[in-house]
């Protein structure tokens, strides 16, 4: 019975508080404010960038920067889907396996069944959508926690990827397909696809009612539902999108390597989640942006690229990524406090 009372605070002080901070801000230190409004991940990226350009003479070449983008394009496309899933308070463990499964299906349809390549691509994308649909239905209508539901589909999709060609890789795709990873007007086509994916996703999350609703769902699902948002349908849509984007990432991998191997994508899951977390999203849901995720992607890409240039042992590179995750999360929390949230 008495649990309602503590929420009541004095009206006058609450009303005056914003006023005082406002006047303080006007007279106060603009530069510090500006600095504080810059997202933490961006500062981190700039620091890493400057450090790397001093440490390696090759780092700051145009060719190397293009390389960074190309190297992370598949992870980056998957991270867009993963970020959306994390914004609605879910998690998708199946991205890497979905990539492999849809890629192997596409290769099988083209090489073994002999269907035209565009049809094979379409079927590959449909497979991604299907895995996403299953993830979505399991975690909404069947009320299975997304961690468990996508753990199951991760296992199943990985198995199917191996089963479909009996574990054998498939090679030699049409020539025009590998041009996806060529350059266009000096820019890598996969980089253009990557940036376009981020822009479209950012637009949806920012300006479209359904995209904006993802934050409401992640923040408090019951509030969103009572506000008339079709929570379950929207969640399914997000998982399907994540599945399709994993297939697109698979296409980029095939185009780059001219080969589809069933074990591709196995190591991608943790990188994808690392990108989203370094980008400032919270696994609790309700927060995260496409801009932040893109910065997170560049941080991971720059670190990996820089460490290779500096001949850091590949075995040590994941350790650095691990440290980066912790630093990013701690900085983010500090930044929130400084902004008075």
């Amino acid at each position: 019975m008495p649990k309602t009372e503590p929420q009541t605070t004095d009206t006058t002080t609450a009303a005056e508080a914003p006023k005082t901070t406002a006047s303080h801000r006007a007279s106060g230190n603009r530069a510090a404010d500006l600095f504080r409004s810059v997202p933490g991940p961006l500062i981190g990226l700039v620091v890493i960038f400057i450090a790397m350009s001093f440490l390696s003479p090759f780092f700051l070449s145009f060719r190397n920067l293009i390389n960074i983008i190309s190297q992370v394009s598949d992870i980056g496309v998957m991270a867009v889907g993963a970020a959306m899933v994390i914004i609605i308070g879910g998690i998708d463990l199946s991205v890497g396996s979905t990539l492999a499964f849809s890629m192997m299906t596409m290769a099988w349809v083209y090489k073994i069944q002999g269907l035209p390549f565009p049809v094979a691509i379409l079927i590959g994308l449909l497979i991604g959508a299907l895995v996403g649909l299953i993830n979505g239905l399991l975690s909404t209508y069947a009320r299975i926690q997304p961690f468990v539901a996508t753990l199951a589909t991760m296992s199943a999709a990985a198995g199917l990827a191996l089963f479909i060609t009996n574990g054998n890789p498939v090679t030699q795709f049409p020539d025009w397909f590998s041009s996806l990873t060529d350059t266009f007007l000096g820019l890598p086509v996969e980089g253009i696809i990557l940036v376009a994916t981020y822009l479209i996703a950012a637009f949806w999350l920012r300006f479209r009612p359904s995209g904006r609703a993802l934050y409401a769902i992640g923040g408090n699902e019951e509030v969103a539902r009572l506000s008339g948002i079709n929570v379950r349908a929207l969640k399914v849509r997000v998982y399907v999108t994540a599945g399709v984007l994993a297939s697109v990432a698979g296409l980029l991998v095939v185009s780059r390597l001219d080969s589809a191997a069933p074990t591709a994508g196995a190591a991608d899951l943790l990188n994808v989640i690392a990108v989203v977390v370094i980008g400032g999203a919270s696994l609790a849901g309700g927060s995260g942006t496409m801009f932040g995720t893109f910065i997170g992607l560049l941080i991971i890409g720059t670190l990996n690229n820089g460490m290779s240039l500096l001949n850091v042992s590949p075995n040590l590179q994941p350790v650095v990524i691990g440290i980066a995750i912790i630093v990013a999360v701690l900085l983010d929390r500090g930044g929130l406090k400084a902004r008075g949230a």
């Binding site: 605070t9 009206t11 509030v223 009572l226």
Partner: protein, 515 residues
């Protein structure tokens, strides 16, 4: 003589700026049952939380048999022999009955659990209570009534000297309640002092040897016998003058907007019928657990009704989702601001536009300007003090509540349902919220107000429906709806009057919500 038993002297307790207990004197002698009654929010639960060490009093003292007693934790209270039997059942379903009874103090022999002793003692105490349940059985799957008995058994094995029952019958039917009352008599006859808190006055009168009534945190009446006329008890519970009158002008009654026909949800409420005209404020009163919130949630599509129809402007709606209800013009302001109403981390503007973004986005794009404009407009209309561009949690409770109401007024609704419109807000904000509700009705909206505060419902509504035990007990006009008349209906004990109800539709604790 005066020092015998548990004696509370001048207990006072505040939560934040609100004083919920003001100088309470309260005595529980050995071998007596004291009934503790009062409206929602009168301070009954707070008093029991002080006695059982959940909270500490700001001032005042307690003694047991003349010795000072000042528990700082529930553990202290248990050590002193004071046990609370909570209204919600808190058993671990995966453990056996005996394990639950001895949870945290399993009997041991040579470093191992003495299962035989645990079984024997559990069996003995359950037999004493007349509960025939195998102590080695899992709790999972047992009925509410049996679980309640296990809670009581758990309390008894601690050999308490004082036992507080906080609404033990809230989730029980008639026969089951009768057994709980029998068990209380057993405890009393063994010399324990019992406090019995209940909304059901008939039960209190039946079992109590003395009754104390609280109102607004004060002790307003006490009797040394349980044999007090119900009317006297009701008068003591409500007897105050009304300070607020915010009733909207009498509607023309020429346009029936909302009609609810035979609405029911299995195990929760049944057979609800009422109609609301344009410009009318319709109140729903009742005690905690009467089924008010559950009823309006079904009307607004938040839950699914099993039977009956909801008709708006002559069209059958029967919304299965809030989305469908909102489309039909039915909006509901939920009772739980934080859990159901607002996302406190997001800005006030973003919160209010959330249900309406599809409508507001004329070009299909929701820009920052659209959100800001909607927020500022509302802020002006409802006099919300605080910046709409800041997270809602930066605002005071009263302004948060205005934001919550405003969220459902961005587009003018046809039916406006509000559940506990002024929960946790100060008096100034309360008045402002009453004015908002009054203004809506004057504007031709059909308004439904659910409130646990009697004076709130009576001050706002043209007509009041009173609910109890998941049934509507009557609809009173403004003239008929005196506090006494409403309270008399609200404490009506449906479960014994209507055997069909207890057999087929027990109000289950799982679905019951406060309000």
């Amino acid at each position: 003589m005066s020092a015998a038993g548990l004696v509370c002297t001048q207990l006072t307790k505040s939560f934040g700026p609100v004083t919920v207990l003001k100088g309470i004197d309260f005595t529980v002698p050995h071998g007596k049952v004291i009934g503790l009654i009062g409206e929602n929010g009168a301070g009954k639960s707070t008093l029991s939380s002080l006695i059982t060490g959940v909270h500490r009093p700001d001032s005042g003292s307690m003694t047991i048999d003349g010795k000072p007693y000042s528990p700082t934790t529930p553990g202290d209270a248990l050590a002193a022999g004071v046990v609370l039997i909570h209204q919600e059942i808190r058993l671990l379903p995966e453990l056996t009955v005996a394990e639950n009874i001895f949870l945290g103090r399993l009997p041991r022999k040579g470093g191992r659990i003495d299962r035989q002793r645990m079984y024997d003692e559990s069996h003995a105490v359950l037999e004493l209570l007349g509960a025939h349940v195998d102590p080695n059985r899992q709790v999972k799957g047992l009925s509410m009534a049996v679980q309640q008995e296990i809670e009581i058994a758990k309390a008894i094995t601690r050999k308490p000297r004082y036992i507080i029952f906080d609404e033990p019958s809230a989730s029980l039917g008639g026969n089951e309640t009768e057994r709980v009352l029998d068990q209380i008599r057993v405890l009393r006859d063994q010399g324990a002092g019992v406090v019995y808190i209940s909304h059901r006055l008939d039960e209190v009168r039946e079992v109590a040897d003395g009754i104390v009534c609280l109102r607004d945190g004060q002790r307003v009446a006490g009797w040394d016998t349980g044999d007090v006329p119900t009317a006297d008890l009701v008068n003591a519970m409500v007897g105050r003058e009304f300070t607020y009158e915010h009733v909207a002008p009498e509607p023309a009654h020429d346009h029936r907007v909302l009609e609810v026909r035979g609405l029911g949800r299995r195990g929760v409420f049944a057979d609800i019928n009422f109609a609301v005209d344009a410009g009318e404020v319709f109140g729903i009163a009742g005690l905690v657990g009467a089924g008010r919130t559950e009823t309006v949630r079904c009307i607004a599509g938040a839950d699914r009704a099993d039977t009956g129809d909801v008709v708006v402007d002559g069209k059958k709606i029967n919304a299965h989702t809030p989305r469908a209800a909102i489309k039909a013009g039915i909006v509901m302001v939920p009772e739980d601001r934080k859990g159901q109403g607002l996302n406190l981390d997001r800005t006030a503007s973003e919160n209010v536009t959330l249900p309406w973004e599809r409508l507001l986005a004329k070009t299909g794009l929701v820009t920052r300007g659209i959100v800001r404009a909607a927020g500022e407009k509302l802020s002006g209309e409802l006099d919300i003090r605080g910046r709409m561009g800041l997270p809602v949690k930066s605002m005071s409770g009263g302004n948060q509540q205005k934001v919550l109401l405003g969220k459902w007024l961005v587009e003018k609704p046809t039916v406006f349902i509000v559940d506990e419109p002024t929960r946790g807000v100060d008096v100034g904000a309360k008045m402002a919220i009453y004015e908002i509700i009054r203004g809506l009705a004057a504007d031709g909206v059909a308004v439904v107000v659910v409130s646990s505060e009697l004076e709130e419902v009576l001050g706002l509504a043209h007509r009041v429906m009173v609910m109890s035990g998941g049934r509507q007990q009557g609809i009173l006009s403004r003239e008929e709806a005196t506090p006494q008349a409403v309270m008399a209906l609200a404490v009506a004990n449906t479960s014994t009057d209507d055997p069909a109800y207890t057999e087929d539709h027990p109000v289950s604790a799982g679905t019951r919500q406060e309000g």
